[in-house]
Symmetry: C2
Subunit: 206 residues, 2 copies
């Protein structure tokens, strides 16, 4: 089902999607590739090439139907396939992500949080409970959760990751700056906030 969308393209698709949401809220029905291109500072033929992958034809002199584009982007990026996840690490970032309701509309369903601090246990965050980390293996099995969002301090990241892998977690969305060592059966996606910032900084602030 994954149509082999290149990383760069899917990144642009999410930006297009945000613009579609905005246009829908503004009650605008159609949008043209030059409009989008200008907004994002990219080439308009790039935009059309991307839309080609969505099998969503536009109309000359008019543009594309905003609603259709939004739907096909959602379909292509799999918004509708729900993925259950646990947040591991209930510090500020973990809590922020737990409260981030947009996740839901993008198909990411956070079931619970975990921490090792006894003070945090049983607190409810956005209708999700914080459990002690020792409860995780059991809940992974019972709920069939495969994805963990890792928001612990860097120092404990590898250790916690090892525990997650032991517990049969298959995908780790890694918000820590540690580069995790994992077996080939486990997939890691590094969020790398600092890296992201440094790219920005290098581009312009220098």
């Amino acid at each position: 089902m994954s149509k082999n969308i290149p990383e760069k393209v899917s990144n642009r698709l999410t930006l297009y999607h945000s613009i579609m949401v905005e246009y829908i809220e503004a009650g605008i029905d159609t949008i043209s590739s030059p409009q989008i291109a200008q907004r994002l500072g990219i080439d308009d033929s790039q935009v059309r090439k991307d839309f080609k992958l969505l099998n969503n034809a536009g109309k000359c002199r008019v543009g594309y139907m905003v609603k259709d584009l939004k739907d096909s982007i959602e379909k292509t990026l799999g918004f509708s396939k729900t993925k259950d996840a646990f947040i591991v690490g209930s510090g500020h970032l973990g809590l922020a992500l737990a409260k981030y309701d947009s996740f839901n509309s993008y198909g990411l369903n956070i079931l619970a949080l975990f921490d090792n601090d006894p003070q945090k246990i049983d607190i409810q965050v956005n209708n999700k409970q914080i459990f002690h980390i020792s409860k995780l293996p059991n809940l992974v099995q019972r709920l069939g959760v495969e994805l963990a969002i890792l928001t612990v301090p860097r120092q404990s990241a590898q250790q916690v990751a090892d525990f997650l892998i032991q517990s049969n977690i298959k995908y780790i969305w890694n918000f820590t700056p540690a580069v995790l060592k994992v077996p080939p059966t486990v997939k890691v996606w590094n969020e790398n906030l600092m890296g992201s910032f440094l790219q920005f900084a290098c581009k312009d602030i220098v």
Copy 2:
């Protein structure tokens, strides 16, 4: 000074950097390109090509000096140049970023937070004060801050961005899902958390 490092390369450099920090903590002096490549699931000649840009020669059969690599990555990515910033939006994400001490070691110095909720004003977060948003223009001028980290809800993102631009902010690190409309003199870096997740999801969970 910016050596025109491509985005992809600088992203990898930050990952290499994390590995260097880890090796230094483990007391290991040298590291080879195949070791790094395997860890990140990329080609080893890729790693060498990247290091070439750093002007950091390795030694056959031995590898690279971990300490030297770390230093040249920091130099290349400009870790040492400090940039002052304001966090705008003191919700959970804003607070999480304010507490994220790693920022400091990467040259990002957060001076203060802002919000429009009277209840949050004057709270101290990690030694940084939360001010009412109306105080921002004056502080931008007095402190010469050019960078704002935007963590407000999507609905108010554009409005707040407009206010920042009026207040003479030149760079916006945008954590909201809104695609901001800005004049060409202002640079935006979209963090796009959901986009990042969807790329991950598309790759494998499908």
